[in-house]
């Protein structure tokens, strides 16, 4: 069984409880404008060029068969549209300015790589998280990987946009201790506009997840000028409050740390001009969430959320 991943991030602290290793799978069925992992969008391996690391030795321009790397003002320049992903340049770039994003691994490879951090998991209540991209685009690989860790007694989490057929989720949930589910916005038209997909399946799947008994968190990226308004946040909070078994609802503030990834991948950054969500605004939205959930609780319509 082969899966395509970009990286395994050690000491991940934001993808579930404790110290975790997060496996980022390559390929996504959504194209969210604010994506902070643009290297996971395409299922295919691709090339990144970190210009700051380039020492100008010109070795890449000498081996590139298509002219994707060529000299511009005496220095190497990269034109992605000419790149055929032959990766010949990779072999001659000793400065590691050129990197291949995406590698093929087996679930056993992932297990072996993560294994060294098991002692940290057990002391911190952590584990492994399968993320992406959208991991459920590689359901069999995701299932087998989760199953390996589950069998070893390691806490497993699945970070998904919940937009895939529920039948696929039914196959992986027996090996999943925690689901991290995305809820990006309630307005279906806006959802379609900003992610490329409608949210009907997602909302249906959240209800099914809620009924499944598998612990889960809901997480919402709060993005300036997209969903950072009280109406949208209130609507999502009200939806979360209507759920019975959700363990946590978390707002994730938009940040600009991923902008260099777009530059290195030569991708257009739809949020290139957008600033970080301010701490004050985030706190305001957190207050709204808290108020909405507490209000619903008092009406006896929902159980406790943290």
């Amino acid at each position: 069984m082969i899966g395509r991943i970009t990286t395994i991030q050690r000491m991940s602290l934001h993808d579930g409880p404790g110290i975790r290793s997060t496996v980022f799978l390559k390929g996504c069925n959504m194209h969210c404008g604010w994506c902070h992992n643009p290297e996971t969008l395409s299922m295919n391996p691709e090339l990144e060029w970190i210009q700051q690391k380039c020492i100008g030795c010109n070795s890449c321009t000498e081996v590139c068969p298509t002219g994707a790397f060529s000299l511009k003002d005496g220095k190497p320049d990269f034109q992605k549209n000419l790149c055929t992903s032959c990766f010949d340049c990779l072999q001659v770039c000793y400065a590691e300015a050129i990197n291949k994003i995406g590698r093929e691994v087996t679930p056993e490879d992932v297990f072996t790589e993560v294994e060294q951090d098991f002692p940290f998991f057990s002391n911190s209540g952590g584990g492994v998280t399968i993320s992406g991209g959208e991991p459920m685009l590689q359901p069999e690989f995701t299932k087998q990987t989760l199953a390996l860790f589950k069998k070893a007694g390691i806490h497993t989490a699945l970070d998904t946009n919940l937009s895939i057929s529920w039948k696929q989720y039914e196959k992986v949930l027996p090996f999943t201790d925690l689901v991290l589910a995305d809820l990006k916005m309630m307005d279906n038209a806006l959802h379609q506009k900003w992610t490329g997909r409608h949210n009907t399946t997602i909302l249906e799947n959240i209800y099914k997840l809620d009924a499944s008994g598998v612990p889960y968190f809901i997480r919402t990226p709060v993005v300036p000028d997209i969903n950072d308004n009280e109406a949208e946040i209130s609507a999502m909070a009200a939806f979360v409050a209507s759920l019975k078994n959700v363990k946590n609802y978390e707002l994730l503030p938009f940040h600009t740390l991923a902008s260099c990834k777009y530059t290195n991948l030569k991708l257009k950054n739809p949020m290139g001009q957008t600033q970080d969500l301010s701490k004050e605004r985030l706190e305001r939205f957190q207050e709204i969430v808290k108020y909405t959930i507490n209000h619903r609780e008092k009406g006896g319509q929902t159980e406790d959320t943290e």
Partner: protein, 718 residues
Amino acid sequence: MENSFSYQSRIDHLRSRKFAQTREKIEVEGLLDEDDYGRVLPPANAWKSIPNHPDGSFYGLEGWTQNFCSLMDSHPVYVDPNDAFAGRWVYFMSRMRANKWNPNYPFDHLKENIEKYDIIAGIGDDAHFAPDYKLGLSLGWQGILDKIEHYRKINTSPEQIKFYDAHEQVVKSIQGWIERHIDLTEQRIQEETDPKLKANLEEMAETNRNIVSQAPQTLREAIQWIIWYHLASRTYNRDGAGGQIDEMLRPFYEKDLAEGRIDREKAVYMLACFMLNDTIYWQLGGPNKDGIDQTSEISFLILDAADKANCSINLTIRVHDGMNQELYDKSLYYLIKNKNAWPRYSGDKALVEGFMKNGFDAQLARQRIAVGCNWMSLPGLEYTMNDLVKVNMAKVFEVAYQEMMQDKSDKPSTERLWTIYTPHLAKAVRTAADGIRHQLKYQKYNEPELILNLLSHGPLERGLDVSDGGAEYYNLAIDGAGLAIVADSFAALQLRIEEEKKTSWEEVTYHLESDFEGIEGEKIRLLLKNSPRYGQGNSLGDQWAKKIGEEFTQLVRQESNPELRHTFIPGFFSWANTIGFGQHVGATPNGRKSKTPISHGANPCPGFSKDGASLALACAVAQIQPGFGNTAPMQWELDPTLATQDQAQLIGSIIKTHFELGGTLINVNIMDKDQILDAHKDPAKYPELVVRVTGFTAYFSMLTPEFRQLVVERILES
């Protein structure tokens, strides 16, 4: 009882005064790449040493006794009405010599290899083992004099009579110094107009009158006694070793509490004054000899006091299975709150199990505690030369590499390089061990340990200096430095030349000799530098690090001699010598440029890990532990974005896991990268910024620009 505000304002005053004194030291004496200590500037009419040798230096019993007593007789006295305790130290007496080794006992036979392998031989170095403060607290100065008198009657050779005379004179000179403080305090009482400060001075005077001869009875007397001994020992030869501070002070605190002499606030005030007095290395928590955790109420008060003092502080929390979780949590809280490089943590499991492998039992092993920069010691029981003897393994590598390339009789290979490297490493270790043996034979004629002998079990009883058979144990330390440089160099050569064939031995040698000059040089340097390094986890570099570490460990162990009671114990540590060692080594095949610093202690080279560096570091350093009870510390530059109170448990879990994996000691810095860059540009702007340079802390503003640069790079690349 006085209110807490007045205690706090006094502590604030003492802190401000300490920072002013540090600034004065920088202005007058310049920068210094070591601990701040609590030393204050000497007066204008400074004491001058009295030579007893034609080379202008002073040596032996007579020289050291004469100089120390003369110095104590004229040592400035120091009383601050806000302080609970009198006294500060002023002189580095051991640095006021023209020469640190008596030329009558030459070691010329070792000098060639010392230079060839860049060994810090430690010959003529001093202290770096621990006194047993409990002994002093139970005897008092008169008790020590009585002990000298007692054994003088038993050990009666002429040399021993001189030995006892010297120690008696030393004790009496310390008592004279204390008496002069009493005089000054009484004078200050007359002058003081503030009733609270006057009352404090009266208590200070009474405290000192009580302990100038007799053993201390109260917490205040006990701390003041420790301060006097410590300041004398610092003055004599910069000794900074402490002990199990909480358990040492607990009986005094509990008695004071029971008899109504003290409350919690006053105890914290006194302990804060104690912390501000000097940067002694103390251990907190941890098991007693029977494995029972020693945490008590005063352990927590010491942490609270350190928080109030919050200066350069060397407290180590001993982490073990039965530890007090509350103390651990509180220590993490203060680590994160103050971001001032304290406390640090030592791992009981590996230290105890490792030390037992030398043939000692668990009870003894548990008493070997964190009382020095990178080191453990059995208070009062051993002579160690901890942190004094170091082999520059990167220099040894350079010698081997050059020999291989010059000898054309066979083709170069990493296998051949290893067969050349190991005998050179063996010669280097033998030279270091011979240096220690030379020291053990002649140090008594060079620099007897007149102060540390007093609180050791054996020297007075036997009439022998602690370096000369007086101690119970001789657990002798040799540290390897530059492990990561050597491991990464072997890995880079193996991968890039032998496996990938991307370069050749000739090409690498050419670029090493030209220090990777030019664009082609830089290209090859990056090819080598980007090879799988030590610290990346199961990498080629990790495999080499393990192999080199095991070889070094075995070579050091081989120097032991049970008949002579010599147990040699390996460690990996470079102290602040990374710059000096680096200057003696040309470019290396790990992509390091000529004369740049070597790797820090047991740490991988900076930038070794792209993410999860903390876990990678914790795993790597745990895997290369020599495993015989000395340390290979993990120097942890913790990202401040991670160091928040809600992540305290995660930080705690990394510390615990490192120790479960075999780690021995963790030094932590939590530095904001922008702040450290700004402080590097303008150190005076951050007079209170403390960094844990290696095992010791220092004010960043006191470090030389070269050392600041090193610390900055380490933090930026973490």
